[in-house]
Symmetry: C2
Subunit: 138 residues, 2 copies
DNA sequence: ATGCTTGCAAACGCTTTGCACTCTG
DNA sequence: CAGAGTGCAAAGCGTTTGCAAGCAT
């Protein structure tokens, strides 16, 4: 938890209980929760926190590159504590969003850079299909 | 235009002027317009068409795999007449969305398939940066 | 003729905003 | 203490839905 506070300070953000709680959730899970999910998860421990605060905080963290916003095609956004760029896999059955552990995409950015006229700054790669648990019982 | 009607029929969809108009716009531009943009573009020629019809039609086309829905991170969706799967490049300056012409990604799906436990059905690949026009005047 | 499609308006759900209060640095 | 963050309620906006009328097959 101390670590999270340091990360906020490094970005010159004020350290508040709400920010620590929200950032903490994202930092310690790989579920890629939505704002609503984060809000509900914090209800027990932070019953007075409002959904608006969750959104405002996520926006702040996003602007400081501590958190990435994912558009997997649902009606709401999901969030991910950004460590390094990595592709996401969305299960069409259970709707889970997991990090894809692969090295295949490591060099594609520079390769695409060489092939096209487009200057790439960042990327979002989504793969849709069936996760380990669901693919057997499609 | 005849061609579009055939494509609709092939998917067992009724051929209506509205569907032809909307599909036609998507089929003949590479702008990846939003529902709103499509609606406005059709105002001159189809003044009675409602925005709801645009949404319903896009949904129909989407379900028949004639159109792909893009989540580039804006507040609204964009649409693309799907020919073959291809990555998209979003310009951070002019907000244009263009098709990326590259072969780099051709085999990644099967490669990822081999590396991970995830069964890939489809993919959406977005690259953010600066387009040819904007990169000189960043 | 029948069932799908359209158009209108109202509803919906996620996200944002305004403002007064509170807290961090 | 000043300025930024929080919480509440209300507003905003893209998208969806219900229903009556119209059209494709």
């Amino acid at each position: 938890m101390e670590k999270l506070a340091e990360m906020l300070k490094a970005k010159k953000l004020k350290v508040t209980p709400q920010r620590l709680a929200i950032f903490g959730i994202l930092y310690n899970t790989r579920n890629h929760p939505s704002a609503e999910t984060i809000y509900k998860a914090l209800q027990p421990t932070h019953p007075t926190m409002s959904l608006a605060t969750v959104y405002k905080t996520l926006d702040t963290l996003k602007k400081s590159d501590l958190v990435e916003e994912l558009n997997v095609g649902e009606d709401s956004f999901r969030y991910d504590a950004t460590i390094s760029p990595h592709p996401h896999a969305i299960c069409l059955k259970c709707n889970s969003v997991e990090d894809l552990d692969t090295k295949v995409l490591d060099n594609i950015t520079s390769e695409i850079q060489d092939e096209t006229d487009f200057d790439i700054i960042s990327e979002k790669l989504y793969f849709y299909g069936y996760c380990k648990k669901c693919k057997t019982s499609k």
